[in-house]
Structure formats: C-alpha cells, structure tokens
Symmetry: C2
Amino acid sequence: MGGVEGERRPARERILDTAAELFYREGIRAVGIDTIIARSGVAKMSLYRNFASKDDLVCAYLERSMVQHAAWWDRVTARHPGDSRAQMKAIFMALGHWIDHPKFQGCPFTTAAAELRDPANPARALALAHKRMVRDRLHAMAVAAGADDPDRLCGQLQLLMEGAYAAGRALDLGPGNEAVASAAAALIDGACAEKQSPEAKRRI
Amino acid sequence: MGGVEGERRPARERILDTAAELFYREGIRAVGIDTIIARSGVAKMSLYRNFASKDDLVCAYLERSMVQHAAWWDRVTARHPGDSRAQMKAIFMALGHWIDHPKFQGCPFTTAAAELRDPANPARALALAHKRMVRDRLHAMAVAAGADDPDRLCGQLQLLMEGAYAAGRALDLGPGNEAVASAAAALIDGACAEKQSPEAKRRI
DNA sequence: ACAATGATACAGACCTGTCTCTACCATCGC
DNA sequence: GCGATGGTAGAGACAGGTCTGTATCATTGT
C-alpha cells in the first residue's frame, strides 16, 4: 500500500513487512532482531513497544500469512464458481506456478514448525491451525465435488500439497511443475469417478 | 552394537550417535556443541579432533542418514524381487508406517535444508544429492514397471513422498496414514495402465 | 509541551571453537 | 621385566562473537 510521498508508514507496519520478508526468505532463527531493526530503519525500542518479544513478532508474521493465504485461495477458487472439481484443480495448478516463483521458499508454516521444534511454541499452534483450515477447505470441496470418499481424497490432496511445498525448493519437477497439477488431476478424477462431472466428461 | 562390557566404544561413534539423535529430534540449530558433549560423555576436544567443525559433524550425520536410508530402501524392495510395481507400493506402504512411529520427525534432509538456508552450506548439497538418489531410484522403478511416462510418475511419487514426510509430523492422516499408500497406488496404477507386460505401447 | 521515535549502550545468556592440564594405556627400547 | 614415550581422551577455563531484551538520552512532529 503506497503511502503518501514523504509520509512514512507507522513503525509497526514497517517492522512487520521487513520481518515477514526476512523470516520467509532466510528463516526465522537465522534472522535476528538487530537485522530487522537495521533493514526496517526502526529503533529497537520501537519494535519492543509494538511486539512483546521475537516470538510475538513471529506469530504476527504467521497470522498475516494466514490471512494472505486465505485471500489467495479465495481468489483462485472464485474463478470457477459452483464447480468444486475445477476449483480443486485450479488450486493445484496455481500452486504449481507459485513454486516456480523465484521468491518461493516453501510453506511458511511448515518451515516455521521445522525451525521451532518446541511443542509449546505458539507459532506451532498457528501452523497447526492453518493446516486444519486448509484441510477443512479441501474437505468441503471434496464433498461438493461428489468424491466417493471425501476424507481419503482430502488426505491425499493435502499430502500432495505439502509435497509440492517441500519439493519445490529443492527438486526440479519439470516444466511448470506439471507433476503437481497432473497428480492432483489424477487423484481428483479417480476419486469422483461417476458422479457429477460437468466438464471433465466432455474432455474425455 | 554390543561391545564387550566395560569396553567403551570410540569417542567418534558416541559423538555421532548422540549428535544424530539430537539433531533429528530437536533440530540442528537448536542443539549446541555443549549439549552433544554432555550427552555423549565426551570431551570437547575429542569432538573437535574428530570433526573439523559443527558443520562437519552435521555433514557426517547426514551422510550416515543417507546410508541408513539406502539400506531401508533395499530392505523394503527386496521383499518383492522382480516386481517393480509392488516395490513402489511397498516403499510407500512402509513410509506410511514409518511416519506413525513416535520418533518420526520428518525427512532429515528436508528439515536440515529448512534450517540451513545458506546456499553454500555443504549440508544443502548433501540434501540435494539424497533427493537426486531417491529420484533416480524411483525413476528406475517406474521404467521397470512399464509406466507410460516414467518421468511424470517419478515426479508425482516424489511429490507424494515429500508430502508424507512433511505432513506426517503435523497432520493426522487417518489410521496407518492410509492416504499415503492409497495415493501412491492410485498414481502408480494410473500410470501403468497395462500390466507390466513387455508390449507397452498403445497411446502417448 | 508531549508523544512517538531514533540512536546507542548495556546486561545476561548462549554459541562455537581454542587452549591447557591431567589421566590412562599400549607399545617400544633396553 | 620395566620405564619412557606417544596417542587418545576427559575436564574445564577462556576468547570472541551473537542473540534477546532493557535502559537512557536525543530528536522530531504536532
């Protein structure tokens, strides 16, 4: 959001923007408070007046990521109103493109959980909440698409999604990461064999 | 394993055992040299005489993990000699059980790469080498099983494998993580339409 | 004047890696 | 046999750096 020229945005927003970028790109433990201070051009006390601790800042970063992810999801599915099967495929198609992006660094929640192993860490709870939200959304779409076994399809797709996040950084999955979309399509079409297939049947 | 009573094993092995367990369970960055020293009952200089640095110790841990993983793979596939399709399914079945194990903490290479973001870190190179090895093995099996498009099936299965590793820690995938085996079976059977018969040609 | 912020010094903890000192034990020369 | 020697290892102090978080003071905008 571009503020007016010469009018700086509040310290809290600058801190959160910088922290989010650095946490995602370089890792949470690898980025110290001093680095965030220097990059955002903010005094250390301004950070600690806005966030109780580094953990608190990490949580704010993850919470904002959850909101952004939900918006992305809604944007993608909105392109196929009423067609749950197409929505599912679109999500995985978009995911395949996203992992090609140069700034892609995996799922911020999964990597946060990998870095912060303490079960009591509040960031872990946020990561779990996000995975549950994704699971619920996938499950609702699987039901709406008429899958024979929505639980199974939902679990399979979530596996595939986590795999795309994990592998995208390291493996090369071929042009456009075609494997993501093709695996999703295979699982989805296999799971909703005979039921409503408004357009898929036409393509076969 | 069982050395003679009262005859302690060499310091190097004790260090590596302790480091491997702690690195895998608690994370690499979270475990300091002093902790490894204390837990393995070894002098600090004994560690630094056997390993040039902590990075070097991390690499030794990952290299040993590669050997152990290869042995596990061979053990599982050896149960289905000559039947590549069954071998592939067996790998994912075993993976589904492994992620149920209480000590399971994801793929050690993926989590190491998540913790050590520096592209120049030698541990990252090891992680990449391991993923390539897995890819090559999967690809060979896909070819032997007569998949229509071995590259595609290999990519899909590696996605699924990464997903199982990533999700196993956080998500609940149902009893016995049935989704792993069922998704693999769906992808494999879909990719090798005609039984692994020699005359594999019909469609492109 | 006042509130928010920048700048900076500092405390305390922790981390990696080096250093010294001591103990044990096997081997070798005699 | 027996002492000297050298390799391996335990214990712990220490240096130099980084990290989080606090305190103090100066500056700026309204």
